[in-house]
């Protein structure tokens, strides 16, 4: 009963959040003379988009590292698979020649966008439906490709223990990157060049016939997809399978003795986590408007791992919260540390290029060393609890 009530509040919370995002994005349409931060071109929205994308990847990593106790560092590799799958499938055929200009076109002379436009037309509502369906299908396929590769790799590497697993998955991601950058596969992967020209978040803005934006949805879309995926992950974690994952994390030997197949469940967790990492990778490609293997380095994996640690290993809401803080700090709030600043006439010492990242890594070390539980430990934010906290009267009644 309590369970049900909680899921309802959570559902309402997410809906409210999504509506709020739409409202925030479109404030400029209603209120002129808005403060700079709230105008559609503000860094706020870039940060929100990136954080929405990263939070999905962080939660998917947490499913594996935090809930199943598998220390995998292959996240960037699976994101790469997702990003390329999405990109290759959705670049319109008309653009392929230009995008693959070094390789005289792409081996896949096919595009989901074109396919759906063939069915629904490419104007007005039909075009919109075609694009939405194409993107959705491509996102799901991106996840599937990542999941499928995870399944293949899982056979050998999931037998390895903690840090060996970490280094093997890290190595796997590096191998993947080298393969995708290989010029010989240029007809498919565009070699070193980036794939671009596919639908991005901006394509979801609703425009009138003259091209002026009526309703902005470019921040809403990543929020929607990420929250849907995260809800699915949460449902999984709270299901019988999620409990089995946790039992493996807590004690493998006991889990096995209680009839939980280690290999099957580790594989499940690995494949599902990779599926969502793949979807996250596709979203990332939409965010940066290109897909290039160069971006998916082990540094990216470390970044996501640090987000998970900051949020608290074993807490979904912690991961989400930490992602927003992390992205906002590193890409927005702390940027001033990179340029010279003056207090009155005195130059603040130390501030110059690169200082932001130094401060940032010190903060991370402080968190890792002194607040090893992260922001949330393994607890979750519950909306109900928050409401109760802020309405003391109700609490007394209870």
């Amino acid at each position: 009963m309590v369970q049900k009530k909680r899921s309802y509040t959570a559902l309402i919370g997410i809906t409210v959040l999504l509506l709020f995002v739409i409202l925030l994005e479109n404030l400029g349409n209603f209120i002129p003379g808005l403060p700079q931060v709230l105008t559609p071109t503000s860094p706020l929205f870039t940060v929100l988009k990136k954080a929405a994308v990263y939070s999905l990847v962080a939660v998917s990593m947490n499913l594996l590292n935090g809930f199943t106790g598998l220390f995998s560092l292959g996240q960037a590799g699976f994101m790469l698979l997702g990003a390329y799958t999405y990109a290759i499938l959705t670049v319109p055929t008309a653009q392929k020649e230009q995008v693959y200009y070094l390789f005289e076109g792409c081996a896949f002379d096919f595009s989901l966008v074109d396919m759906f436009e063939g069915i629904f037309g490419n104007h007005g509502a039909g075009g919109a439906i075609a694009m939405i369906l194409a993107c959705l299908l491509a996102l799901i396929l991106a996840g599937c490709v990542a999941g499928f590769f995870a399944y293949l790799i899982g056979f050998p590497v999931l037998r390895l223990k903690s840090d060996y697993l970490a280094i093997a998955t890290l190595g796997f991601a590096e191998i993947l990157r080298a393969i995708f950058q290989w010029q010989k596969l240029g007809k498919v992967t565009n070699g070193a060049n980036m794939i671009k020209g596919f639908p991005t978040f901006t394509n979801f803005n609703i425009t009138d016939s003259s091209g002026a934006v009526i309703l902005r949805l470019s921040t809403f879309v990543p929020f929607l997809i990420s929250s849907l995926c995260i809800v699915v992950i949460v449902l999984l974690i709270n299901s019988s399978y999620g409990r089995a994952f946790k039992s493996i994390r807590d004690d493998e030997v006991a889990a096995e003795a209680m009839g939980i197949s280690l290999f099957k469940h580790k594989m499940l967790s690995f494949v599902i986590s990779s599926f969502f990492a793949g979807v996250g990778g596709a979203l990332f490609a939409m965010y940066v408007a290109n897909a290039q293997a160069k971006a998916f380095t082990s540094v990216m994996t470390y970044e996501i791992l640090l987000i998970v640690v900051i949020g608290g290993i074993g807490s979904v809401s912690g991961s989400v919260l930490a992602t927003f803080l992390y992205v906002a700090c590193s890409e927005w709030w702390l940027r001033f540390l990179d340029s010279e600043q003056y207090i009155g006439n005195i130059k603040v010492p130390l501030l110059r290029n690169g200082f932001r990242m130094v401060v940032f890594s010190v903060v991370i070390m402080v968190i890792v060393l002194f607040f090893s539980q992260g922001i949330m430990g393994n607890r979750e934010i519950s909306l109900g609890a928050l409401i109760r906290k802020f309405s003391p009267k109700k609490e007394r009644k209870q």
Binding site: L160, G171, I175, W182, V253, Y302
Partner: protein
């Protein structure tokens, strides 16, 4: 023929440099069961210190100073970032190591301003020499011998001294050693000191040969050295050295394969593939001991 010799020469020298880093990994892993991700970056910092010191000091003074300060750095990292997490799960310590690596790289970017730095010319080591028709630097010739001497000294230290005995004991059984009155913390410190000193020596050799240092210069050699350590059987010093030479040579051979095959880009990927294969088929490495978990 000349070509084959030149490929082998660079393979051996690369392998030797990996070996010096790999020993640090294998010692630390043997005792703490920790992949010290920051080790490669300590190596990079040693290189940077080399640049900054030789700018003002003669080489004879700056090299010992670099070794000393690298040791201090290694020691400090252990005390500040790993010791507080001694009882914590292995994953936390590893994350801390990744954090330290991140910090060192970012600090290096800040200090150098992101510019690639040039390693100074070390007399003699940087001079060129002709071997069987191939011209190369002295450092290439010297590296393998120096590695062998250092490994020999190290095995004496571990095999014959009290500290060495303590190290062996701790790597066999952490808890029991503690109960037997071995000062765990000082043994671990000694391990880090040895590892860092070797990394410093390695940095002199490596950067004399490849003189451009960027903040990420330590990452790849670090990872490869770790693979070498796993390959040889983690915890085993001769294993790490042999693994390092094998990986170094294989890597240069792959790079040296005919361009028409276009496989030289996979020289790094090969190292990782090798790692995965060895982990699956012989997880204890070439010379490591198999461990069984107690239930």
């Amino acid at each position: 023929m000349e070509y084959v010799i030149s490929v082998l020469l660079s393979g051996i020298s690369v392998g030797g440099q990996y070996a010096l880093i790999a020993i640090g990994y294998t010692l630390v892993y043997g005792i703490l069961r920790l992949i010290n991700f920051a080790h490669g970056d300590v190596f990079m910092v040693a290189g940077l210190m080399g640049i900054y010191f030789t700018a003002t000091l003669p080489v004879t003074a700056s090299v010992p100073l670099v070794i000393f300060l690298t040791v201090v750095l290694g020691f400090t990292i252990e005390r500040a970032a790993y010791k507080p997490l001694r009882g914590a799960p292995r994953m936390s310590v590893m994350i801390s190591a990744i954090g330290v690596s991140y910090l060192l790289q970012n600090t290096a970017t800040y200090v150098t301003g992101g510019q690639p730095m040039t390693y100074p010319v070390i007399p003699f080591l940087s001079d060129t020499v002709n071997v069987a028709g191939t011209q190369t630097k002295w450092v290439v010739i010297i590296t393998p011998f120096l590695v062998l001497i250092l490994v020999f000294a190290l095995s004496l230290l571990i095999g014959r001294t009290k500290v060495g005995m303590a190290m062996r004991a701790v790597s066999k059984d952490f808890e029991t050693s503690r109960l037997m009155g071995i000062k765990i913390n000082s043994v671990i410190s000694v391990t880090f000191i040895i590892g860092s000193a070797l990394a410093a020596v390695g940095s002199v050799l490596f950067f004399t040969n490849y003189p451009a240092i960027t903040p990420t210069a330590g990452a790849m050699p670090g990872l490869k050295a770790f693979v070498a350590a796993v390959f040889g059987g983690i915890g085993s010093i001769p294993g790490a050295v042999i693994g390092a030479f094998l990986i170094g040579i294989c890597e240069t051979i792959i790079k040296g394969l005919p361009s028409s095959w276009d496989v030289s880009v996979f020289s790094d990927a090969f190292t990782f593939a090798l790692l995965i294969i060895i982990l699956i088929f012989k997880p204890q490495g070439l010379f490591g001991e198999a461990a069984t978990d107690k239930v």
